[in-house]
Each structure stands twice: as C-alpha cells, then as structure tokens.
Symmetry: C2
Subunit: 160 residues, 2 copies
Amino acid sequence: MNNNNKPTGAEKVPFDLSRFMPYQLAVLADDVSDTIAQVYVDRFDLGRNEWRIMAWLGSARTMSAKDLGRRAGLDKMQTSRALARLQDKDLVSLKRDAQDRRGNIVQLTRAGRTLYDKIVPLVLAREDYLLAALTHQEIAALDTIIGKLRQQAIGLKTRG
Amino acid sequence: MNNNNKPTGAEKVPFDLSRFMPYQLAVLADDVSDTIAQVYVDRFDLGRNEWRIMAWLGSARTMSAKDLGRRAGLDKMQTSRALARLQDKDLVSLKRDAQDRRGNIVQLTRAGRTLYDKIVPLVLAREDYLLAALTHQEIAALDTIIGKLRQQAIGLKTRG
DNA sequence: GCGATATGGTAACACTTGTTACTATTATGT
DNA sequence: ACATAATAGTAACAAGTGTTACCATATCGC
C-alpha cells in the first residue's frame, strides 16, 4: 500500500506512515471502535473487554469462563478481571463448574440481559450507519479482505 | 455486516459478535499491529507510540512536538511521555522552539536515524507479506474502503 | 494408585495509561 | 496595555494492564 518505488537495490526507501497499511488499519479500527465504545462506555460504563464478554454471553445461555475469554480474545487474567468487574456490577453471575471444579460457568443476570438487550440495537445501528458509507460490493469485499489479511497475519504471528 | 434479519419491527435481533464489523476490524487491526510490533518491540524495545513518532520524524528533518503528536494520533500527554522515553534512549533530541517558547522542536539523533533506517525495511517487508494475501483489486478496494469508513466514523465521533 | 505435569483461575507487584490540575508562554479583546 | 483566554507541555495521582508466581483441581505416565 505504501507508494514506495519497488526497491531494486539498496537505495533509501522513502517511508510514508500515512500510506502504511497496518497504520491506516490501526487508525481506522480505533476510530470505529470509538464510535461503538461511545455506546457502552459513556452510556453504560462498560469497558471494552466487559462488553465483549457480554456480547458473547448474550447469544448463549451459559458459557465457561475459559471459552468466553478465548472467544473475546482475552488472556486468562484479562478474562478474570473483566468478569470480576461484571460481577461487581451484577451483570453476570459465576458458579463453579461441577464437572471441572477449576473452572467457572458464567451467565448473564437478569440485569445483564436487560442491559445487553438495550445495547445491541444501539451498536447495530452504529454499524449500519458506518456501513452506509460503502456500496454492497465494498461491504462484501471488506469481508473477504478481512478474512484473508487475518489469515496471513496469524501466520506471521506464531512463526515470528 | 451482521447477518441479522432487517428489523421490521421490535422482534429480538440476533446478535453475532463475530459478524460485527467493528469487532472484526478491531481483531484484524490487533493481529496486523502485532505482526508489525514484533519488529520494533521485540527487537528494538520501542513502544507503539514511540515508533509512530520516529516514523513521522524519519521523513522530516525536524518537527514540532505538537505536530508529531497530532500526526501520530496521540494526545499531548502520550506525546510527552513517548518523547521522554525516546530521549532517554537517545533516539531523539528536543530543543525549545525559539519562535514559540512553549513548544519543542524534535529531531532524530544520529542513533535515532540509524535505528529508523534499520526498522523501515523490516516493517515494509511485513506489509508486503501481508498484502501478498490480496489481489491488486482488493488492495485498491481496501484503500477506498478505509477512507470511506474513516470519514463516516469521524462524523459519528464528534457529534456523539 | 500416585508422583509429575497441565489447566483454570487469582494475588501481588511493577509498569503503563488516563485524568486532572498546574506552569509557562503566547494570542485576543477592548 | 492589560486582563482574559488559549496553547504547549508536564507533574501527580488514580486506574488499568502485563507479568510472575502461586493455589486448587484435573490429567497423564507408568
């Protein structure tokens, strides 16, 4: 994406951060995240990790803390802390897993479910508004592109 | 992007976080950022904000601290801290702006320039690798899409 | 069965980040 | 010109995060 001359030798490569795809992507993701965060942070005092956990919990009756963390992309400490905060706010309840007494089973409380039902339409509306900037073709393309890039990035991640 | 039925009434909207564009984008940006960060964090002990500042400085002889922050997308406190760290590592030098004695003028030290020259080809190679997953059309489309989405997101940001 | 190892989770510490308030300097209104 | 406001930057404290070590339970090898 950088408009650099293909480096045919050892000549200085001009580097333009503003044309650097990972940078553009990070900036965009931040801006987009912020518009969504306005909903759950400003109005309902939820952190991003807390919201993600609630979002996953919302479409499942019940889930293990471990799975929740994995799906929300959190490590176990982040998961533990997010769940602790959600418990303080009485939005989720934990109980020990009877099958494996190391783990916890999490579910939304009634208050949590109510909040979830309140937030979902709001964030969906924001998504709709954002996507309204794109054509149908672009939306489809974005989907493909995200998938491909992600695959490629994950490949680099593990190998180094 | 969510495959939700268009809500024609008040019926429950099924919400699938994994199909939620802002989430997909955040996850992708994280993965991509990580692959780039491997270069400057693991190998050269730079933070993201420090790297961004160096990246902007690299293509300018000299820049005001304020402008650097604005371009790197940092608030003034983040800028101040990143610059302090870069100074500790002797990668940039600051001097008071003679025209406006509130501000600082920043430039890369010799060591900073050397490091910059070392990092740039490495991150460009990573970008190339990532983009190799896409067709030329997709790369062009991504560029357009990022621009449009960003515009739209910024619109939402200021208004609320 | 039982010692070694792995797993889910949390405590505690260091470090980073956000927030508010403040200093110094410059721009503005009258 | 002078009080008021705005701007660049930092200090100081609160809050959040990463890291390591640890506890309890569960699994594996033999």
